[in-house]
């Protein structure tokens, strides 16, 4: 057992901390600060801030230098994830690009794609959207019906995507589309890069139950994309999509732990202020959440160990996703339960505004759906890890 990071990784932590200390304004620490801004304005500020960070060299931490990364270790990436949350740095505006697309491009992209995609993505010159879900294809992703028909050197795309993160701010979308008519469900798919700034692409925001619009829908009407803008071979889209989703499910545990643990402490402080911190039922409930949060932290150490040993997380990513998403949701349920009738009030006392916490609590209803619902993850765990029959 050795839970330490290398001296090099700790030096990196120091450098990053120093930079963050000088570049994260105090007001950003305030819970609910970002929710208090106009959504487009918040997006613009974060996009610029993140670009500056990238230009300073704090982006693409564990990616090769030749593609614009920092060339660091997986341990440095874990340090980065932790420090960003600790410093109250804003969440990335390019999450699907950074977390899912980039590692997939690194794994299966052509040399030209690596050079063209990674650098601009890190510098926020291109905001990426993911076009997977459709009205008729949610958990059953292989049912996508958006079609791409070849016309000379281009594909012509028609169809609709939904639950698209950053749809209205997106520059490009990587979309799972049907390119091989007549091929069986999983075989006829391709992953296509489509420019969103063209007449054939229309994006609309979706208003969610929280009131916010992180997601949107994207309509393709004779949209065009060069045939070379395919990730992996045409027809291999399903395998590429599955690889990509494994990155989504195995998202950084240490960042999540740090963020959720902060929420836990916020919940505790609210209960104290409302005089509920001594309630034995609430204490049991919160301690149950704490147990799962700590387990998430240990699990992130396990995952980092596996990565550093050169092993692939594989289907265990589904286990990670179940742990973090179910725990996050349960934490906010515990909050509501402890508040009782006050749970639904924006401000149970005049000096206690709960709206930003309530927004986080609402968001937690989505995390057990996107990226493969908990029910889909349980199927994966049961069939792929436990070997139960299909």
């Amino acid at each position: 057992m050795d839970l330490s990071h290398t001296p090099e990784e700790e030096r990196f932590r120091g450098e990053l901390r120093d930079w963050l200390a000088g570049h994260v304004p105090q007001q950003w620490h305030r819970p609910g600060f970002w929710a208090s801004l106009d959504e487009d304005e918040a997006f613009r500020i974060r996009r610029e801030w993140e670009r500056e960070k990238a230009l300073t060299g704090f982006a693409g931490i564990a990616w090769p230098k030749e593609y614009g990364g920092r060339g660091g270790t997986p341990g440095m990436k874990a340090v980065y994830d932790e420090e960003m949350v600790k410093a109250h740095a804003p969440a990335t505006v390019n999450p699907v690009g950074l977390t899912f697309l980039a590692p997939t491009v690194m794994a299966v992209g052509t040399e030209a794609q690596k050079r063209e995609i990674i650098g601009p993505l890190l510098r926020n010159e291109v905001i990426w959207c993911q076009g997977f879900s459709e009205p008729g294809a949610g958990s059953d992703l292989a049912a996508v019906s958006t079609r791409a028909v070849r016309d000379g050197d281009e594909f012509v795309v028609n169809g609709q995507k939904v639950w698209t993160t950053n749809a209205v701010h997106g520059d490009k979308i990587f979309a799972l589309v049907r390119t091989e008519p007549g091929a069986s469900r999983h075989r006829g798919l391709s992953l296509l890069f489509i420019d969103m700034h063209q007449p054939g692409v229309q994006a609309r925001p979706l208003r969610q139950m929280s009131g916010a619009s992180e997601f949107g829908e994207v309509f393709f009407t004779d949209a065009r994309a060069p045939v070379t803008d395919c990730l992996g071979e045409p027809g291999q889209g399903w395998d590429v999509a599955m690889l990509l989703l494994s990155f989504e499910r195995g998202a950084s545990g240490v960042a999540q732990y740090t963020e959720f643990r902060r929420s836990y402490d916020e919940i505790v402080s609210v209960l104290r202020r409302l005089g509920r911190a001594g309630d034995p039922v609430a204490r049991q409930r919160l301690a149950r959440v704490l147990v799962e949060l700590e387990c998430l932290r240990y699990h992130s150490m396990h995952v980092l160990t596996e990565v550093e040993q050169g092993r692939d997380l594989g289907f265990e990513a589904s286990l990670s996703k179940l742990q973090w998403s179910e725990t996050m949701q349960d934490m906010w349920e515990a909050f509501d339960d402890a508040l009782g009738p006050e749970a639904v009030l924006a401000a149970p006392t005049p000096d206690l505004d709960l709206t930003s916490m309530q927004r986080a609590a609402m968001w937690s209803r989505s995390v057990t759906i996107w990226g493969g619902s908990s029910q889909v993850q349980r199927n994966v765990v049961a069939e792929r890890l436990l070997g139960l029959p299909r």
Binding site: M1, D2, L3, S4, H5, G75, A78, Y264, D265, V268, L271, R272, A277, P280, R283, Q284, L286, A287, R288, L290, V291, E292, E294, C295, L296, Y298, H299, M301, H302, L304, T305, E308, L319, L322, Q323, Q375, Q377, R378, N379, V381, A382, E383, L385, L386, G387, L388, P389, R390
Partner: protein
């Protein structure tokens, strides 16, 4: 970052598992379970434990031990849990922990080599009947001339132990300590307690003005530290129970046919088993981390111990209950071994602090401070 067992620790676990599979399988466990009047202490098994170093894990090399940390000790405990193995291994190892924590160098030199070699069977008595596992739950008092009076229960294997480490409170109640007692000494009365978990033997220890030797440097911190180590080793045993129960259940449901298909193909079972797998995995992490936290003296060790015991207790109860349910009728039968796992989980879930007790400690650590 290396959050995993090293090759040596893995090999140690494999050796324990290998021995049990060959020489002390569930048929051997059954013989102990079905003979509740016996001492529950198979001699050949004890001899093997001694020869193979399972009892010497924590004893420093200078005292003829292997000088390993709690991480290696939890490897052994896990395998013993997986095999639902009877015998005073945990009791003897915990007595050794007490000597390590608070014995003088002379006491260590006298006792540790005997414990490591299996020549001395020992146990610990840290709590009064129906009390909490905390300093406040100690129901033995130190009287004049350091003699002990009071009750402790349940104590593991009091009838085969030649030495008992007893936690006791000073006459003014302010200080706690650990004392060595010979159960054959005048004033000691051992009453066997019938217990539905046949993979151990329990008793109640009543002391009436009994001569005792104080572990020289013991005080309240040593008693608290011993309770934490006991909680971690018990959590490790529970994790072993849980993992094995889950594996056996999955194996059964993969092949058991109903409605013309394996029952394991039904999502009602798949989803429940998947959640249990996630739970066991987390409990495995938690026990590993807690053991390391104690070895390394990490600041969050008390929190880690309670996380591990709370998680392991819960998940072992869930899995062993599910084992009975997802085996169907056969799981409820005496002839099937499911009840060995279920009953051992029941006993250990409460031992050295139930999930609820450890959660209350976590609440105190994170809400009150």
């Amino acid at each position: 970052m290396f959050f995993a067992l090293d090759d040596e620790q893995r090999a140690f676990g494999a050796a324990v598992r290998g021995y049990l599979a060959e020489r002390f399988d569930l048929a051997a466990v059954r013989a102990v379970v079905e003979h509740p009047g016996g001492d529950g202490h198979p001699a050949t098994l004890w001899k093997a434990m001694a020869e193979q170093g399972w009892l010497a894990v924590r004893v420093p090399e200078q005292h003829d031990g292997l000088g390993q940390g709690m991480v290696t000790a939890q490897v052994v405990a896990r395998e013993l849990g997986a095999g639902v193995v009877p015998g005073p291994w945990a009791a003897t190892v915990l007595a050794g922990e007490a000597v390590l924590l608070a014995g003088s160098s002379q006491q260590q030199a006298e006792l540790l080599p005997q414990l490591a070699a299996g020549e001395l069977v020992a146990t610990v008595a840290l709590r009064g009947p129906c009390a909490r596992y905390s300093l406040g739950g100690v129901a033995v008092r130190v009287g004049s001339h350091g003699r002990l009076t009071g009750v402790a229960a349940p104590v593991e294997y009091p009838s085969v132990a030649a030495r008992v480490v007893v936690a006791a409170r000073s006459a003014d109640g302010g200080e706690y300590g650990l004392y060595l007692v010979d159960p054959a000494a005048p004033g000691v009365w051992v009453r066997e307690l019938a217990c539905y978990d046949g993979t151990t033997r329990l008793g109640e220890l009543t002391l009436s003005d009994v001569a005792a030797v104080r572990l020289e440097t013991s005080g309240s911190p040593a008693v608290a530290a011993l309770l934490d180590r006991a909680a971690v080793l018990t959590a490790a045993d529970l994790v072993g129970v849980a993992r094995e129960a889950l594996t056996r259940t999955v194996d059964y449901d993969r092949t058991r046919m109903q409605f013309g298909v394996p029952v394991g193909s039904f999502q009602a079972l798949k989803h429940a088993l998947a959640d249990l797998h996630v739970g066991v995995r987390m409990a495995e992490h938690a026990v590993l981390y807690a053991a390391h936290a104690l070895d390394a003296g990490l600041a969050d060790a008390p929190l880690a111990v309670s996380v591990a015991k709370a998680k392991a207790s819960d998940v072992a109860l869930q899995v062993t209950g599910a084992m009975i349910q997802y085996l169907g009728g056969i799981g409820y039968s005496w002839e099937h071994e499911a009840h060995f796992f279920y009953k051992r989980a029941k006993r250990e879930a409460g031992l050295y602090g139930s999930g609820d007790e450890h959660r209350e400690r976590l609440a105190a650590l994170t809400i009150d401070s």
